[in-house]
Structure formats: C-alpha cells, structure tokens
C-alpha cells in the first residue's frame, strides 16, 4: 500500500546517493559546493510530502517489495511518529552541513561532499527501514563515509580516531547481525512490524537484547562504551561532528526504541535497572569530564555522552513522559549540539585553535556569534523557554514518577551541565583575550546556518505542542504494547536460572 502516488521514502533515500554520483563530473570546488547545496535543498523539497503524515501510530508511506524471496528479505520502508522526526532532522541537517563546511574544507571537496550525501542516504535508510536486514544494510553502509570524513578531513590525530570509530561500531554491529538472524530463525520473518506482534521466550529475549543493546550502546554511546566518541568528535571536521552528533548517535537510541522495547519487552524490563544505572553513570561521568576540558570541542563531545544518557534513561523508564522526553532530547540534542559544533568550527576558522584559553573575549568582537552561542548553551543546559528544557523536564518528571531515587541522581547531572556550559560561555564571552585580535563577526552564510537551529530551539521551547501531536500516538502504542507483551511473556515463562546454565543450554541445543 502506498499512501502517496509515488514512493516518497525511496526517493528521499535514493536521491542524495544518485545526485552524489553527479559530483564525479564536476571539477571546480566552488561548483561542487553549489551543486551539493542545491542537492540538499532539493532533498528538503522532496520531503514536503511527509507533511501528509497522519497523526496516528501506524507505519505510513509504506513501501514493500520482495528482495530475496528464499530468505524472506524485503525492501520494506515506512515511518511512524518515532522515526519521522529523525528523518526530518537528518534532511534538515544536510544543508547546514554543506554550509558550515563551505570554507572549512580545503581539499578533496568532491569526495567530501560525496561522503556527506552518501551518509545522508544511509542514515535516512536506517530510520525508514522496516526490515531487519535492510536496517542492517543501511546501518553498516553509513560507517564508510563517516570513517572517511574523519580519516581524510579530520585533525592531526585522525587516523587513530577514525580507526577506533570504525572498529568499535563495527564490532558492536556484528552482534546485531547475529541477533537479526536469531530473530529470523525464531520468528520466521525479518519484518519488524510482524516481529512486533510476536512473543518470544524470555530466554531468547535475554540474549537477543544483550546482542542488540551492545550494538546500540556503542552507537549512543553509553558509558563505558563511549571512548570512541570524544576522539571521533575532536578529530572530525565540523560537518562530520555535526552529522555525528545530530543523527548518528540517534541511531543508537532509535534502535533501543524500535527494537529493544517492542521486540524484547521482557528482557528490556529485566535489564532496565542496569540500563538506568549505566545511563545515570553516563550523565554524571559525561558532565564531570566535560567540566574539566580545556578544548571546546572535547567539552561538547563529553557533554553529548551526558545528554544521550538522559535519552537512554528516558527510554528505560518505560513511562509516557520519560519516553516522550527521550524523543525530544534526541531531537534537541541533534539541533543544539549540531549548532554548537558548527559554531566551534566557525571559531576554529578564525583562531585556528579549539582551546578555550585561545578563544577568550569573543563577546567584544563577535556579539552576534556570542548571542547564538549563549542561546545554544542555554538550550544545552535545559533553560526554560528553550527546547532543552522541554526534553529534560519530561525525563525528570518520568524519573521522579518511576522512582524519586532515580530522580535524585539527575539533579547533579543537570547542575553539572549548567556548570560546564556557563564556565565555557563566560570565558568565551568575557574572558581577557591573550592577544588583541579583531575577529570579524558572523558572515551571511553563518547567520543562515545558525538562525535555522535557533528558530527550532525557540519553537520547540515555547510551543512544543505540534511535536507532541506527532510523537504521542506512537509512544502510546509503544508503551501499551510493551506493557501487554511484557506481562504475557513473564506469565508464561519460568524465571531465568543462571546465565551460565543458559549459555551451556544454548550451546548444547541441537535440532
């Protein structure tokens, strides 16, 4: 069934990739930039039919074609309230990335823009795929362009950072593949909506959850699987950091929402205390380490670990407010951290340093810049009136509803966020410059790519209702299904004995 006369999602996924091939026929760097900019704007226009999204929990814009019949593989796409925001975010981030690398990228422009477009295709595929293998294909395909973005256009230590990124994420996702195959063997299908209807045994869920959760936790990244992230962020060029922060990390939390909760509800419940503990550890650890950074980019990178901790915490509260907060935080973090990375790139282009001590007193020379920085910093620490507040407060409410004990841990987390953000902002705005520099303020291009996120920061912060309308039905359905199926499984299953006995059981199992 097609909601529209033409396949919206396929076009959205395929267009950047096909257009990227056109880059090979271009020569001048400037032409390459204009071309990619045009492609990214056309991509935004192509997304207009998504406005026809109906406010319910169904998968919409569904496309389904047989791919490999014998193995039940399907080319199966569709989006619901959880994925549509991520799809829109991905599409919106693309032109910003092109703009913020306009003067930043000084070599191999063609390949750089090819990687950007390729990655956009792959990430869109991840958020649209409703077939497990298709999901995995897109999930892996995105690794290569990201690897190149870091390894070719990154900082001095780019080799190490890119290799670490690649190995970490790929090692995690091979386990995801094993889980996917296990789902097929046990459930008989790769179709995610079909699998969502099934009740798997607790023992199966236990292992499937662990395999999937590791892959997702590395991607998020959750403490202690986060070590690739600061390295990758610091070394990546601005656009790479923006994409990494804005959309790639969301793939992990999206995985939790799309797979762990619906497919392995009982195991999710079983592991929730552990996941919550790790999330809190991420929040506190990320905040504390960020506080001690002297490199702005590293600071924001570690703050990501903390922010994403709020997201995973919200998800594993299994509470309406918590999950909504998590979804909002995913969106917010994409907008705010993306914008922060773009601004760090802008500063770096002027001072050629990311050290806080080398970028003091910007308020005097770059008031417009500091305005945007201040706004994003406030959004990042969850100031009322900004989007960060909406997400964070929902997670807070959810946490306190579930257990005040959990809620208590979030308070220092939020305080840490305020501390490191104020610290860096104060220094950058009013610190005493080490040498008298006259830096020019934002140019028109920078105004454009900072205004867009700023508008969203205030829009979501002041009037979040439209966004709630989109996500609410899907979150309702997710949690209702979750409650029902969690109970269904637990009632019919005997409790787990020990993990060791189970490993032996699985190994000895024969047909």
């Amino acid at each position: 069934m097609l909601d529209f006369g033409y396949p919206v999602l396929t076009i959205l996924i395929a267009f950047p990739l096909i257009a990227a091939c056109g880059l090979f026929f271009l020569r001048a760097p400037q032409v390459v930039r204009y071309y990619t900019m045009a492609v990214s704007l056309i991509e935004c226009l192509l997304a207009v039919p998504l406005m026809g999204f109906k406010l319910n929990a169904d998968f919409q814009f569904v496309e389904k074609i047989d791919w490999v019949h014998q193995w039940g593989l399907q080319y199966y796409l569709g989006i619901d309230g959880i994925s549509i925001l991520m799809v829109l975010l991905t599409i919106a981030v693309l032109p910003l990335c092109v703009m913020c690398s306009w003067t930043y990228i000084g070599k191999r422009e063609k390949e750089f823009h090819f990687c950007l477009l390729f990655m956009t295709s792959a990430v869109l595929g991840v958020f649209c795929a409703l077939d497990l293998v298709l999901f995995y294909v897109f999930w892996e395909a995105m690794l290569i362009p990201m690897y190149l973005l870091i390894a070719v256009w990154g900082g001095d230590d780019r080799k190490y950072a890119s290799l670490k990124f690649f190995l970490y994420t790929l090692a995690g996702s091979t386990l995801l593949l094993a889980a996917i195959v296990a789902f097929r063997i046990t459930g008989g299908t790769f179709s995610i909506p079909d699998l969502m209807q099934m009740n798997f045994s607790f023992r199966f869920q236990f292992w499937a959850f662990l395999a999937m959760a590791l892959a997702f936790a590395i991607k998020v990244p959750m403490f202690p699987f986060h070590t690739w992230l600061p390295a990758a962020h610091v070394q990546a060029p601005s656009a790479g950091s923006v994409i990494l922060a804005a959309v790639l990390l969301k793939m992990g939390t999206y995985g939790f929402l799309r797979f762990c909760l619906p497919l392995t509800p009982a195991a999710s419940q079983y592991f929730a205390p552990m996941m919550i503990a790790i999330s809190i550890a991420s929040i506190l650890y990320g905040g504390a380490i960020a506080l001690g950074q002297s490199d702005i980019k590293k600071l924001v990178a570690y703050s990501s670990v903390g922010h994403m901790g709020f997201v995973t915490l919200g998800i594993f509260l299994f509470d309406q407010r918590g999950v909504e907060g998590a979804l909002f935080q995913m969106l917010n973090h994409g907008i705010v951290t993306g914008a922060l990375f773009m601004m760090i790139g802008a500063v770096y282009e002027r001072s050629h340093s990311r050290e806080i001590s080398k970028n003091l007193g910007l308020g005097k020379y770059m008031p417009a810049f500091m305005f945007f920085w201040g706004l994003m910093a406030l959004a990042s620490l969850g100031f009322p009136g900004t989007n960060g507040f909406v997400g964070e407060i929902l997670v807070f409410i959810g946490a306190f509803q579930v257990s005040p004990f959990i809620g208590m841990f979030l308070v220092p987390g939020a305080l840490l966020g305020a501390a490191y953000m104020f610290r860096v902002s104060l220094k950058m705005a009013w610190g005493k410059p080490s040498s008298a520099k006259t830096w020019r303020d934002l140019n028109a291009r920078e105004w454009i790519y900072l205004t867009i996120p700023a508008v969203f920061v205030l829009w979501i912060g002041l009037a979040p209702a439209p966004f709630f309308n989109i996500i609410d039905p899907s979150v309702d359905k997710l949690l209702n299904d979750f409650d029902k199926r969690k109970v269904a499984v637990v009632e019919t299953e005997q409790p787990m004995q020990t993990a060791a006995a189970d490993v032996l059981g699985l190994l000895a199992e024969k047909e």
């Binding site: 047989d66 791919w67 490999v68 019949h69 014998q70 193995w71 390949e111 293998v133 995995y136 294909v137 897109f138 892996e140 395909a141 690794l143 290569i144 690897y147 190149l148 390894a151 070719v152 780019r158 080799k159 890119s162 290799l163 690649f166 190995l167 790929l170 090692a171 091979t174 386990l175 593949l177 094993a178 195959v181 296990a182 097929r184 063997i185 046990t186 699985l506 190994l507 199992e509 024969k510 047909e511």
Partner: protein, 485 residues
C-alpha cells in the same frame, strides 16, 4: 556407456580451447603466437556457452559424471573466473615472451580439470579430476622469471599437494573398503557415524583433506601465503580463486553425507572455526598484500564450512553462493594488485598509499573489494555471509556462527588497512613504478566492482540458482521456471 553429447557442450568447447592453446604452445621460438589477441575472446565465448548450458542435465560414463544444476552453477563460475584470469594475465610483466602460450595452456588444463570436478559424482573420478586440476598448477607457480621466491613457492605447493593427494587416496581406499562403493549417491545412504563405521569416517576425513588442501583450510593451509607471495600476482589470482571453486563444489556434493551432530560434521565445524580464527589473526600482522590475502583466504575457507555443516539445501546453496562471491571479490582485489604492481613486484600495504589520486577507479574498486571481503553491505560479501549465518543458525552449530561473527569483526582491521592506505594516506613510497591507470585497468576493475555491488543488492536471481542446485543434490525436485518470486 550412457553418453549425451549435448550435455557436454561447455566442457567440449573448453577442451577445444585448451587443445588450441596446446597446439600453439608447440610453436618454435621463432614463431610467437599472438595468443593474448584471441584467447580473451575464446574464454569469453566459453563463459557464454556455459551460461547457455545452465539448464543441461544428464548422467553419463557409468554414472560417474553428472551434469546438474550444481555442476552448471560452478562451471559458470569457473569459466567466468578463467575469463577474468586470462584478461588479468594478458599484461603479465614477469612472464617471458616464449612461455606465454604454455602458461595459458596450463591454466586452461587446470580449469578444465575443475570443470570436470564440478560434475564428478564418484570419488575416483573426483580424485582424477582433482589431479588434472593440480598438475598444471605445479608447473605454473614457479613461472616467475628471475625470482627465487617463485621456486620456493613451487616446491612448497608440490610437496604439500603431494602429501594431501596421498592422504586423499589413502582415505579413498578406506572408504572403498568399508562402504563398498565410491558413488556419492550410494554413499548417501550409508552410515557415517563413528560408532558404526569408524574406518569410513577416518577415510572420509582423509579424503576431505585433499579438498581442504585446495581450499587452504586449517591445518592444510600452510602453503597458501607462501605460494601467493612467491607466485606472480596474476598466477596468485588464479591459485587464490579457481582451485577453491573445485574444492567447494566437491565439498558441496559430499556435504549431503553430513548431518549435524555426526562426528565428521563436528570435525568440519571445528576445522572451520580454527581456520577462521587462525587465518584472521595471522592476517592481522601482514604487510605484504598477497600474504594478507593468503591468510584471509584461510579465513574464508572457514566461513564456507559454516554453510556445509548445516546439513540443509539452504546451507549448501549458501556455501555455493559464498564460493562465487569469494571468487569475484578476490579476483577484483587481485586485479587491482596486478594493475598497481605494473612492474610485477610484490606489493606492500604502503604501496597503495595515495591510490585514490593516481588511479581513482582502481581505488574505488579496491574499496568495494575490501568491504566485500569484510562482509559490509551492500556487497555480495555481505549477502554471502548473511546467507551462511542464516542457514547455519539453529542447526546445532550456533557456536560456529558466533565464531564467524566475531571473526568478521577481527577481519575488519586488516581489510580496512587496504582501504585506509588507498584513501587516507598521502605519502607514497618513492622510486616505484606508477600504477597502470589505463582504460583496460579501469574498465576491468570497474566492472568487477559493479558486479560485487550489484549482486550484493540484487542477489535473488543467483541465489535462486544456487538454492535450486542445493535442492537437486538432496533429490528435492525443482521447477526452474518458478525461480522463487
């Protein structure tokens, strides 16, 4: 003797090709036959003749020779491989002018042996075909002018080959003595449990050893990296791919004897697991690209075992499909190795530095090949691995599947090194011959890379073929027109 000449058209066509080469190789030194002018067309024609014969079937020569879907699948793969190898070798710089026709003749005979191997359904016939495929290789490997390593490689290959063959023959005698038949179709109905027939199990293990040698499966893999390193790049491309197809087809045929849980199946599974692990771990430390590929092929031999031990038509189909994928991916990588080493030297990883600048098409194709070997989507390597995993999961060898998955993660490091050097390293070593960046090099690499990607995205037609072939081995009737969709 039943004999159906139409079913043998691909083999006969190929035989004519090889005989023509033989006649040419008899020419005197003064008369230099322009073999490289016509042979690619001949090899291409052989490939198309084999494709058109995909539906042929029949049993002949007292039922020792069977033309069925499985044999045709592999014959298509083998003739395709031969075509690419001929194209690849046509610019071989380290081969003396006077030896060119002989060189192709030997490759041709070996390929012909592999084609026969694809159809052999009786152990002695398999043995003979295997020998035909091997003998020419013994002569071809040392053919690298002015290189001492080549002689060492040749000797290693002969010694290991002789021992493996002797073992296989010894095992064959055990099977004959205990099961009283050498026909696979009859062996299928015999017991292969160690408790019932210990001698037969030992015999089959030894016989399989001969195949494992060809496949470079642990512990029969020791020749592999040395021979790759010693042989010229183009010869290594042949040795790395074609004999493996012969081994895989025989293993696919013998896999119908294996049921999950039997001792012999477990031996295969354990060897597969060891092979993956040893291959990958050893490859991590390599800097010579051919040695790296040699150890990686040891790992790939292990992957193929995963499909074979599952005891289902799907498993055999997955192994066959992976075999094909392996051939195409490896030929692609060797194509690039041969083109980059335009003077025929052995490449170090650092020789790939800056390849994206000097030869962008080669670099892109290398990326496709390397990622296919890792098993990243959307390449045929991913699809092949995915089919293997899916077919074996839940058939008693889950641990083997996990081993495969973990090994894929290990393998990333060294395959990524190929990609890393080609794309992200700028410094190039001085005083080496630049890569061949002509239209021939780019077109060949581009087409093989396209095959790797397209089959990765649309694997269904070929996989249908493989699965129907797998079903025929188990005697499940298939309607070819149905095709699945």
């Amino acid at each position: 003797m039943n004999f159906n000449i139409t079913a043998l058209v691909p083999e006969l066509f190929f035989l004519c090709l090889v005989l023509t080469l033989m006649v040419q190789s008899l020419g005197t030194r003064e008369w230099k036959p322009p073999v490289e002018r016509w042979l690619p067309f001949g090899a291409c024609a052989a490939f198309f003749v084999t494709i058109t014969g995909f539906h042929l079937h029949g049993t002949m020569f007292w039922d020792v020779y069977k033309v069925d879907l499985m044999s045709q699948f592999f014959k298509i793969v083998i003739t395709f491989g031969f075509y690419v190898v001929v194209l690849n070798a046509s610019r071989q710089p380290t081969l003396e002018e006077g030896k060119r026709a002989d060189y192709y003749m030997l490759l041709g005979f070996s390929t012909f042996g592999l084609m026969l191997l694809a159809s052999s359904v009786e152990l002695i016939t398999i043995y003979l075909a295997l020998e035909l495929a091997s003998y020419s290789m013994y002569a071809v490997i040392p053919l690298r002018a002015k290189d001492k390593g080549a002689a060492e490689a040749g000797i290693k290959y002969i010694m290991f080959g002789a021992v493996a063959t002797a073992l296989a023959l010894y095992g064959l005698s055990y099977i004959m003595a205990t099961q009283h038949t050498t026909y696979i179709a009859e062996l299928m109905n015999k017991s292969w449990s160690f408790a019932d027939q210990p001698m037969a199990v030992v015999g089959l293990s030894l016989f399989l050893g001969g195949m494992f040698f060809k496949l470079a499966l642990f512990p029969f893999h020791f020749w592999c990296p040395d021979v790759y390193q010693g042989a010229s790049n183009e010869t290594a491309a042949f040795v790395a791919t074609m004999p493996k197809m012969g081994a895989i087809v025989v293993l696919c045929r013998l896999a119908v004897l294996l049921k999950p849980g039997l001792e012999i199946t477990t031996i295969l599974a354990v060897l597969g697991a060891c092979s993956m692990t040893f291959g990958n771990l050893s490859a991590l430390a390599q800097t010579d690209i051919k040695r790296l590929l040699g150890f990686s092929s040891v790992a790939h031999a292990g992957y193929i075992m995963v499909g074979l031990v599952s005891g289902t038509p799907e498993g055999i189909a997955a192994a066959a499909f992976y075999g094909m994928a392996y051939l195409v991916m490896n030929l692609l990588v060797f194509w690039i190795v041969s083109r980059v080493a335009s003077d025929g030297r052995n490449l170090k990883l650092s020789d790939l530095n800056g390849l994206y600048k000097k030869a962008p098409v080669l670099a892109f194709s290398l990326a496709a090949g390397a990622f296919a070997l890792v098993g990243l989507p959307p390449t045929m390597g991913f699809m092949g691995k995915f089919f293997l995993i899916t077919s074996a999961w839940d058939h008693g060898y889950n641990w083997l599947v996990i081993t495969l998955v973990v090994n894929s993660a290990i393998a990333i490091y060294y395959y990524l090194a190929l990609f890393r050097h080609a794309f992200t390293e700028e410094k190039t070593p001085s005083q080496v011959a630049p890569p061949d960046n002509g239209w021939f090099a780019s077109a060949g690499a581009g087409m093989l890379a396209a095959a790797v990607l397209v089959i990765g995205m649309i694997p269904a037609p070929l996989f249908n073929f493989a699965i129907n072939a797998g079903k025929t081995l188990y005697g499940i009737s298939v309607t070819f027109a149905g095709g699945g969709h």
